[in-house]
């Protein structure tokens, strides 16, 4: 029993050490000459543009459903005028960034994990390495940076669509003008609501890209490992997002309040 615990602990420490080394390789290669702009922009297109539909629909529905769920309760207390501000604060501070990051973990981390895993299995990464090309610079740096930049942009877009969904939700039962709804939404928001939420999305994006690349790059031989890489990329990225969110909330509370 004790030896099993020790062996499991040492395995986790090994993985943690490996991830630190991988982070170091990533960081070193950002500043090495010959940044892969073409591949970086291609990844921005794949991560960002190709996720617009999924993220947009998700954002809209989150705002719509949140409004439909809360409006009757607030109406009972005669507080329906607070619906726009409640929706705005909930979406911008917490629900938008976390849900969108989780959606992106499912879509992007899995696809990066599977892509790099399959490149590993088919010896494409070895082929780059053996020809003296730099696979970390071409495959890893571009993907992690694309995720780090595109996930915040997707979150901003999803937040906007969630507010639009909230506006549509309110107007199913009542009538509130577009300008009144958005004026009330934005008047409830403060700098301390928006900035920490925006900053944490960069970390979410980094976690998604890093975990996807790490799992894919370190997948073992065999087709089964491609599926495992994709699956564990989603699970690990989701856990990291929840963990980072908890840390971000604590830090925000310490700084702001």
């Amino acid at each position: 029993m004790a030896s099993a615990i020790i062996s499991s602990f040492s395995r986790y420490m090994e993985i943690a050490g490996d991830q630190v080394l991988f982070t170091g390789r990533f960081a070193r290669n950002i500043f090495r000459g010959g940044f892969e702009w073409g591949e970086f922009l291609r990844q921005c297109y794949i991560v960002g543009y190709k996720s617009i539909g999924l993220v947009g629909i998700t954002g809209f529905i989150i705002g719509f459903v949140l409004t439909l769920q809360t409006q009757p309760t607030l109406k009972t207390f005669g507080a329906q005028s607070f619906v726009p501000s409640m929706v705005a604060i909930s979406i911008i501070r917490e629900i938008g960034p976390v849900i969108i990051a989780l959606i992106c973990a499912g879509k992007i981390a899995s696809s990066i994990g599977a892509e790099l895993g399959s490149m590993k299995v088919t010896e494409q990464i070895d082929a780059m390495e053996v020809s003296s090309a730099n696979p970390v610079q071409y495959l890893v740096v571009t993907r992690i940076l694309a995720c780090t930049i595109m996930v915040p942009l997707l979150t901003i877009m999803a937040d906007a669509l969630a507010l639009l969904g909230g506006y549509v939700g309110v107007n199913i039962q009542d009538h509130v003008s577009f300008s009144l709804f958005f004026r009330k939404s934005f008047s409830a928001l403060e700098f301390s609501d928006v900035m920490p939420a925006l900053i944490k999305t960069f970390f979410f994006g980094y976690a998604i890209g890093f975990v996807g690349c790490y799992k894919g790059y370190h997948s073992k031989r065999g087709t089964e490992s491609v599926g495992l890489a994709a699956n564990s990329a989603v699970v690990s990225a989701s856990l990291w997002i929840i963990l980072l969110d908890a840390i971000a909330v604590q830090i925000t509370n310490m700084i702001v309040y």
């Binding site: 490149m119 088919t122 010896e123 494409q124 082929a127 780059m128 053996v130 020809s131 003296s132 090309a133």
Partner: protein, 258 residues
């Protein structure tokens, strides 16, 4: 082994030539599994060595060690006069440019066209910027493997033999001095297998390379080998020309040539 030379004899005979790869008492284990037990080999300039052996004997591990994809546990491994284990990162990079590696699957980058596959090492490794020079080299390489028409195709549109040819063109575009082939004809029909084997010989003559070819394919071995070494249980057990080994009284060696 009357008609086959021992490794010691063979080393003594060819000592005068320029040795591009020298392996001495190489050992490599994965956990408790000792894959390479005592490998000794010298590849001379311009020579083609074929390594025969059953699956799982560590043939590919040997050439992966030569290419610096993995490090040996014990023993010496010199490539172009330098010990691989002692190379700095820059030296390893420089060595890899001179050592071409053709993977079993071809290992083409499947998100890129044939042209992009070939331009990748030119722009990333040789840092070429001159578009005309890049185009010229790509066309020259594709022409040498007879696949100029496939320039805009993706790897998924190519047959197994065509992928191997493009893989070969991509490897040769860096003008390596040493070529390592990992089962170049596996999975191909006999006609394509013969074509690839003949291509290996033609390109070796054209680019003046020295090669180590890992294969199970006796047709490929007969066409490409100047010398054949037979591997069993992590050691080389026999070496000689194809005609010498055909007559070997050793049952294990003889089984390959039946």
């Amino acid at each position: 082994m009357n008609d086959t030379k021992t490794q010691e004899q063979e080393v003594a005979v060819q000592d005068t030539d320029y040795v591009v790869v020298r392996i001495q008492h190489l050992k490599k284990s994965f956990g408790d599994n000792e894959v390479l037990k005592d490998i000794n080999l010298e590849l001379h300039k311009g020579e083609n060595i074929v390594v025969l052996g059953r699956s799982g004997q560590g043939k590919s591990v040997t050439i992966q060690c030569i290419a610096g994809l993995m490090l040996q546990d014990e023993g010496g491994l010199e490539v172009l006069g330098k010990e691989v284990k002692e190379m700095t990162r820059d030296e390893l990079r420089a060595m890899r440019i001179k050592v071409g590696f053709l993977f079993q699957s071809g290992a083409l980058y499947d998100s890129m066209t044939v042209k992009e596959n070939l331009s990748f090492p030119l722009t990333r490794v040789l840092k070429l910027n001159d578009k005309q020079e890049i185009e010229k080299r790509i066309h020259e390489s594709l022409e040498s493997v007879g696949l100029e028409d496939a320039i805009d195709k993706y790897p998924s549109d190519l047959s197994g033999g065509m992928r191997k040819r493009v893989g070969l063109a991509r490897t040769l575009i860096l003008r390596p001095e040493i070529m390592l082939y990992d089962e170049p004809t596996t999975g191909l029909d006999p006609i394509t297998s013969r074509e690839i084997s003949e291509l290996i010989v033609a390109l070796q003559e054209k680019y003046d390379t020295s090669s180590i070819i890992i294969t199970h394919d006796m047709l490929c071995a007969r066409i490409t080998a100047d010398r054949i070494v037979v591997m069993n249980e992590g050691k080389y057990i026999a070496t000689g020309t194809y005609d010498e080994l055909v007559k070997s009284p050793d049952e294990l060696v003889h089984n390959f040539f039946k």
